[in-house]
């Protein structure tokens, strides 16, 4: 599914002295099947923007189009919108509530009013897609590990079979291996299904290797937008808003400064190693 955000503005604490723009005339186009990282620190407006995409928040001005249709137009089916744009929030603890994993994942598709067989079929598929093997399905969602809770939460949204999947900080609080496993799983899911995926994060290094495109937000506006390599060329701008490029970018810059003939746009350790080897030989 494609998304078009057209001059969207959203105000917080309207009518008080604390009124401020959480989103300021944001324009953004996301093509079908893209894997996009949305980066910004706390309060940059990234989560606010995501909540507009499935209608949880309504823009004060501007429009949002999903596959060309205005989601705020009268008569646009709100319920369908929520299932079409699947939003997984940061803390799985905020959504898990059923007696076992399987029943919990059923909640979403059941709300869509699907017949029982189809609900269960979708749930089985979703749980396998996120890598939760069958032996966990009858366990309580409160007694599994943090990484598994996160997967079950993602499955809970995936089972509604959305065209767009938005993940808000899916790796927060996980250990390094857990972070990697979740991101690998999401990448795999994205390649297999061709779904449009938006990954919201404040960690550049986490998303850099995975996404096709990075959108950097700051103070309710889009600061940078492009392929990871393009975005990381703007090290000064990133640092100016309290973000950083991946460590490898800094290594390559430092080497260049010392007179090495290396490309500055290496992001992963692999690329950096290859570049350095070339320069040394």
């Amino acid at each position: 599914m494609s998304i078009l955000v057209d001059h969207v503005t959203y105000l917080y604490e309207t009518g008080t002295p604390l009124e401020h723009k959480a989103l300021d005339e944001v324009c953004l186009e996301i093509k079908d099947g893209q894997f996009v990282g949305i980066i910004g620190h706390t309060g940059s407006g990234k989560s606010t923007l995501m909540q507009h995409l499935n209608g949880l928040l309504k823009a004060h001005s501007g429009h949002i189009y999903l596959d060309g249709e205005d989601i705020d137009a009268p008569g646009y089916p709100k319920k369908k919108l929520r299932s079409q744009v699947g939003l997984v929030f940061q803390y799985p603890e905020h959504q898990l509530f059923e007696v076992d994993v399987f029943t919990d994942v059923c909640f979403g598709p059941k709300n869509l009013g699907l017949p029982k067989e189809e609900v269960e079929e979708r749930v089985r598929k979703a749980l396998l897609q996120v890598g939760i093997p069958e032996e966990y399905w009858k366990q309580s969602p409160f007694e599994i590990s943090g990484g598994q809770k996160r997967r079950v939460a993602i499955a809970g949204v995936l089972a509604m079979q959305p065209g767009v999947l938005i993940l808000d900080e899916p790796t927060a609080g996980l250990d390094p291996k857990g972070r990697r496993e979740i991101l690998d799983q999401i990448k795999k899911l994205q390649t297999q299904t061709g779904m449009t995926v938006l990954l919201v994060s404040h960690s550049m290094e986490d998303v850099a290797e995975y996404v096709d495109r990075i959108v950097v937000m700051n103070r309710g506006k889009i600061l940078l937008d492009g392929a990871p390599k393009e975005v990381f060329c703007h090290v000064e701008e990133l640092e100016g808003v309290g973000l950083a490029a991946p460590q490898m970018t800094y290594v390559m810059r430092a080497l260049r400064k010392r007179g090495f003939d290396v490309d500055e746009d290496a992001i992963t350790v692999e690329e950096a190693a290859a570049g350095i080897l070339r320069a040394l030989s």
Partner: protein, 287 residues
């Protein structure tokens, strides 16, 4: 003798089924011994579920060992008369800042510990002021904790412990819920306390960048200490760390990859400067 000493510590908790019958026991900490010298900056690493948090809670007498012994400033944590002295010498900062701030105003929260200890009013104010200044949030003293950023909240928690004048501060994953800026703020504050005030720091984390400056690192796995040494010694064992579900800083990983492909670099490179320096030296040798 060290400020914190653990000898063959075992901590077991019982697993129960739905009816409350004991079905087995889990050893969260399994035979850990360590000795922390005053003024040290110690880091304890480990993946989620490795037992590092359970161990941390032994250093403040929140938990007491099932077997073995823990001494804080020479006092046995199992002794009930000394438990308040122990908690005064070893302060503790937890993961979620929202769940440890009691006061409705920053300064009132920082004063909570000294109030509990029965410190006279005038001295509480002095302690609150110096603690807030030490972590760099004195200007926020009248603010409501709910209005602060994650990094600021966590510094309030640290100031709250600092006001109790501890000899040692144990921080249990203080940065796990923060964004990169917040993490930097907190680590900077903690390092300053260690450098300037000479307070012993025990930092529990799974972020590798945070432990580069530690004096000594313990890596935990399955309730045991799997590795120990200086950051350089630890990070030179890239394969072993990966087995333990941990990462190494990307620079160290890059140096390791280059080594694997025949570039003659020393083990355990920790910073970008070191790496660039070493590569530069190689190039000079070549030419």
């Amino acid at each position: 003798m060290g400020i914190i000493r653990a000898l063959d510590v075992v901590y077991e908790y019982l697993k129960r089924d739905d009816d409350g019958n004991v079905t087995g026991s889990i050893r969260a900490v399994d035979g850990v011994s360590l000795d922390v010298a005053p003024g040290d900056f110690i880091a304890i690493l480990g993946h989620n579920g490795s037992g590092k948090s359970t161990l941390a809670k032994h250093m403040n007498a929140i938990l007491t060992p099932t077997e073995g012994c823990v001494w804080v400033d020479g006092k046995d944590t199992r002794s009930e008369e000394e438990v308040w002295d122990i908690r005064r010498s070893a302060g503790m900062v937890f993961q979620n800042p929202d769940n440890q701030i009691i006061g409705q105003v920053v300064e009132e929260d920082v004063g909570f510990g000294p109030e509990n200890m029965g410190v006279p009013t005038k001295e509480i104010w002095e302690r609150v002021e110096e603690s807030l200044k030490a972590v760099g949030i004195y200007e926020l003293r009248k603010a409501s904790p709910n209005k602060l950023s994650g990094g600021q909240k966590q510094r309030v928690s640290i100031a709250g412990v600092l006001a109790m004048h501890p000899k040692c501060i144990v921080l249990d994953e203080p940065t796990a819920m923060l964004d990169p800026n917040g993490r930097k703020e907190v680590i900077r504050a903690v390092r300053a306390l260690n450098d300037v005030e000479g307070i012993t720091i025990i930092l529990i984390t799974h972020y590798m960048e945070e432990i580069v400056h530690a004096d000594k690192v313990f890596v935990m796995d399955h309730g045991e200490i799997a590795m120990q040494g200086t950051p350089r010694e630890i990070f030179s064992q890239v394969e072993k760390l990966k087995e333990l579900r941990l990462d190494v800083p990307q620079v160290t990983l890059l140096a390791y990859e280059l080594q694997q492909r025949g570039v003659a670099l020393p083990d355990g490179i920790l910073t970008i400067e070191e790496l660039v320096e070493e590569i530069g030296r190689l190039k000079e040798c070549q030419s």
